[in-house]
Amino acid sequence: MRFGGLTAVRSVDFTVNAGEIVGLIGPNGAGKTTFFNCLTGLYVPTEGTVSYKGTVLPPKPHLVTQAGIARTFQNIRLFANMTVLENVLVGRHTRTKEGLWSALLRGPGFKKAEHASEERAMELLEFIGLAHKRDHLARNLPYGEQRKLEIARALASEPGLLLLDEPTAGMNPQETRATEELVFAIRDKGIAVLLIEHDMRFVFNLSDRVAVLVQGEKLVEGTSEVVQADERVIAAYLGEPFEGDPGEAEAAEVEAAEAAADATSSTKGEAK
């Protein structure tokens, strides 16, 4: 995927098997979300294809969802002024086909389809534990529940593969653990999960395989142990020592200078 002269993601070959949880990690700006956007058709890849169950997917988001790949967003993109139930019902869009005419004529088929959709949506809300809030507006939910609702909305399209873009961003440890349970529960339904995450403990606990993306290229892929032991990964995250590494003498010099500066500016610091 190229944006003008900038190559954001380059020749990343990647496979997710059925019923697998795969983690995708990498430093900021590595191209993880861009890769997601290519998969889901939000970006049209400059080169390469995305195939699902053997068929090549067209780069159109709604067709990708139709085929069975659903996603969540890094910054929550719920329909803020719709209720919790309505949000999930929108997710059912691809699995229902009542058009304008059936809505206007309101035949028995329409009522049946609406009823079935609502039942399915309520099942999903039970599953993530938001059933008691069905009539609340999405914008009024606490942050963690908004994340959950986004997952429920994605699940409503009955995907075979669920893409989660940083599902635990901004969550406290307890909520993160709950999300972990949720992802396992989703996998138990037979849905494969591909997730982007910065919380390493979360990723390595959860994933069957982990892939590392650095500067748009796939560095390494394998089980948690393999990735954790890989030196290139550590280097990408922490940086490498370089030749002109400051020695102890220089460090002492800097410390002395800082101490002197501190003495003069201590009053200022307190005022702040």
Binding site: H62, F73, T94, T96, E145
Partner: protein, 603 residues
């Protein structure tokens, strides 16, 4: 800076705000003043206010109110009723469920504004205060009394700083309105019926106002009265009632709409009625495009034009370029709607790939292209289809099942003129459009429109084919406008290109249609209808505004966007979008079982 803003807060918090009014009077005296003033205001309407009947409405008769005096009387009675309810008189408690003083203030202000407006109008129009009879002075003073009394009433939030805050507190709606007692279904229906009849009466009075002064006075009274009812919490209670009896209310609304021409003796007012209905129906169609799907369409009136021209061409008019064709109404209505639908798809297909402002600009362009094209299809600069600027005149009246719409008919002692006939036809069309709107909005397709409006990227990622869904909204809106256009062609006898422009001084044009939707309230059924009625009546009644009506609308829109951006009748979603009070907005039944609060505390 920080100190100046911080100091008042600690002072204001510990000392509970003193309960006293802006004007220092004992509260019992203040209350009595409001009651007495209200009664006096109502009574003063029975005096002669001026000596000559040159001022419209004949305010010269002692013992019988005329014109504007009726409005003063109404406002006075309303104020007195609120004052009595504030005293806790049995049987009036329902008027003031929250026992707050704001309705008293607003009722008093309504009486004051209409009376003083009349008195000043008499003085200005007849040239000086000498033209006021003693009755006029009495009315002016009597209407001032309840205002003084009302502002002397204790107000809970007056303890805080600043007169502005204090004034705001006087007209604020209390946070909590006590819930109404449960009533039997027949009582609820009776209440809805009575309110509908009153509403019809008020609306009919507004349409029937014969001169601008009366209409201005009418607006004063209606605005203050509605505001007073709003702050009293009665409007909330009524909307709860409506929500519980939705289909009954809808039926009553249509019964009232059908009853309107029977209350009219002059066909001129039925003409206003039918024009309001056409305008309102088109606005409701635009509401699908703008209010539900969130597509800003600035050339919408072109679809009305397509419908009108199609109907004119197949009406059998001798000036029509296909004058041999004379289709029955149902066929021409379908043809008009279908032609508009085709144009909607043709215009929508290339433009709906754009978003936001770009879409608005392109639709604006297409709207103008329609008018210019119609102007030029006269056989000289283009193909001979529409007769150019001359349009298609002498469109024959409709005949359905032998019922000639052009003639007056007597039904049960009431005479229905030509416009009244068309009015009833338009009520039918509007019923269809309302049905289409409500059913489409509450369905899979309606949800996808709202989803697209909320977040298009997320909506497409949820599997919604954005382009297709938007095109359906665009085409449906166009077809409904075309349907209304077919009737409008017959009502106006002729079809010419000039009304179908972006902005003009008379409705309908694209700018007015959009203003009607925004003013009334996007995404609601009643909103665009109310907005259309207002926007049609204002230039019609206020003749002195005629040249400056666009200026006046600009100012009105700016004020509205500043103080009530969600429109007069607010959709719940819209209201939350503009006001950050949403955190308190939770459905009733779930407030007690809020589990996550507990789990969070454990974290």
């Amino acid at each position: 800076m920080t100190e100046t803003t911080k100091t008042p807060a600690p002072d204001a918090v510990p000392t509970p705000p003193a309960l006293r009014g802006l004007i220092r009077l004992p509260s019992s005296a203040a209350r009595a003043l409001v009651l007495g003033g209200g009664i006096a205001t109502a009574a003063s309407a029975f005096l002669a206010w001026t000596w000559t009947d040159e001022f419209p409405g004949d305010l010269t008769i002692n013992g019988y109110p005329g014109g504007l005096q009726w409005l003063t009387f109404t406002a006075g009675v309303l104020t007195a009723l609120f004052a009595l309810a504030a005293y806790g008189i049995r049987g009036l408690g329902w008027l003031l469920p929250a026992r707050n003083n704001a309705p008293l203030v607003l009722g008093a202000l309504g009486g004051f504004s209409v009376t003083w407006f009349t008195v000043i109008a008499i003085s200005v129009e007849l040239g000086g205060v000498v033209n006021l009879e003693p009755g006029g002075w009495v009315a002016a003073i009597a209407s001032l009394l309840p205002v003084i009394g009302a502002f002397a009433l204790p107000q809970e939030r007056t303890g805080t700083d600043g007169t502005k805050e204090a004034l705001k507190a006087y007209v604020a709606k209390p946070d909590r309105i006590p819930a109404a007692r449960a009533t039997a279904p027949w009582v609820q229906r009776a209440v809805i019926t009575v309110v509908t009849i009153i509403g019809l009466g008020v609306f009919t009075y507004g349409i029937d106002t014969e001169y601008g002064e009366l209409f201005v006075g009418y607006l004063f009274v209606v605005v203050f009265a509605m505001w007073a009812l709003h702050t009293a919490g009665l409007l909330d209670r009524f909307s709860a009632l409506v929500a519980a009896n939705r289909s009954f209310t809808l039926a009553m609304g249509f019964a009232a709409a059908i009853a309107f021409p029977f209350t009219q003796t002059d066909d001129h007012y039925a003409n206003i009625g039918v024009n309001i209905l056409i305008f309102g129906t088109v606005a409701l169609g635009l509401n699908i495009v703008v209010g539900l799907a969130g597509l800003l369409d600035l050339g919408y009136v072109a679809f009305l034009g397509v419908g009108a021209y199609t109907a004119a061409l197949v009406s059998g008019s001798e000036f029509s370029t296909i004058s041999g064709v004379h289709l029955p109404f149902w066929a021409s209505a379908l043809a008009g709607a279908a032609a508009s639908l085709v144009f909607g798809v043709l215009i929508g297909a290339p433009t709906l790939r754009l978003r936001g402002d770009y879409l608005a600009i392109v639709t604006l362009g297409f709207g103008e292209i329609f008018r210019i094209a119609v102007n030029n299809m006269d056989g000289q600069s283009g193909p001979d289809v529409t007769n150019g600027p001359n349009g298609i005149p002498s469109i024959p009246d409709l005949k359905i099942f032998g019922f000639n719409f052009g003639q007056a008919h007597d039904i049960g002692g009431f005479t229905l003129g030509r416009f009244a006939n068309y009015y009833l036809l338009m009520v039918l069309i509007m019923a269809i459009v309302v049905l289409v709107y409500t059913r489409a909005a509450d369905s899979r397709i309606g949800r996808s429109w709202i989803a697209i409006r909320e977040d298009e990227t997320a909506a497409t990622a949820m599997g919604i084919n954005g382009f297709r869904v938007k095109l359906i909204a665009f085409a449906l809106g166009a077809a409904l406008a075309g349907l209304a256009g077919t009737v409008s062609a017959h009502v106006t006898y002729s079809v010419v290109p000039t009304p179908y422009q972006f902005a003009g001084s008379t409705p309908p044009n694209s700018a007015f249609l959009l203003a009607a939707v925004v003013l009334g309230g996007m995404g609601t059924v009643a909103g665009p209808l109310l907005g259309a009625a207002l926007l049609y009546l204002l230039p019609e009644k206020l003749v002195f505004l005629q040249e400056k009506s666009l200026l006046a609308f600009g100012i009105a829109l700016i004020l509205l966007m500043r103080f009530r951006p969600e429109g007069i009748i607010a959709n719940r979603r819209r209201q939350l979008e503009f006001h950050e009070t949403g955190q308190l907005d939770v459905p009733k039944q779930t407030t007690l079982t809020d589990e996550p609060a507990v789990t969070k505390a454990g974290a």
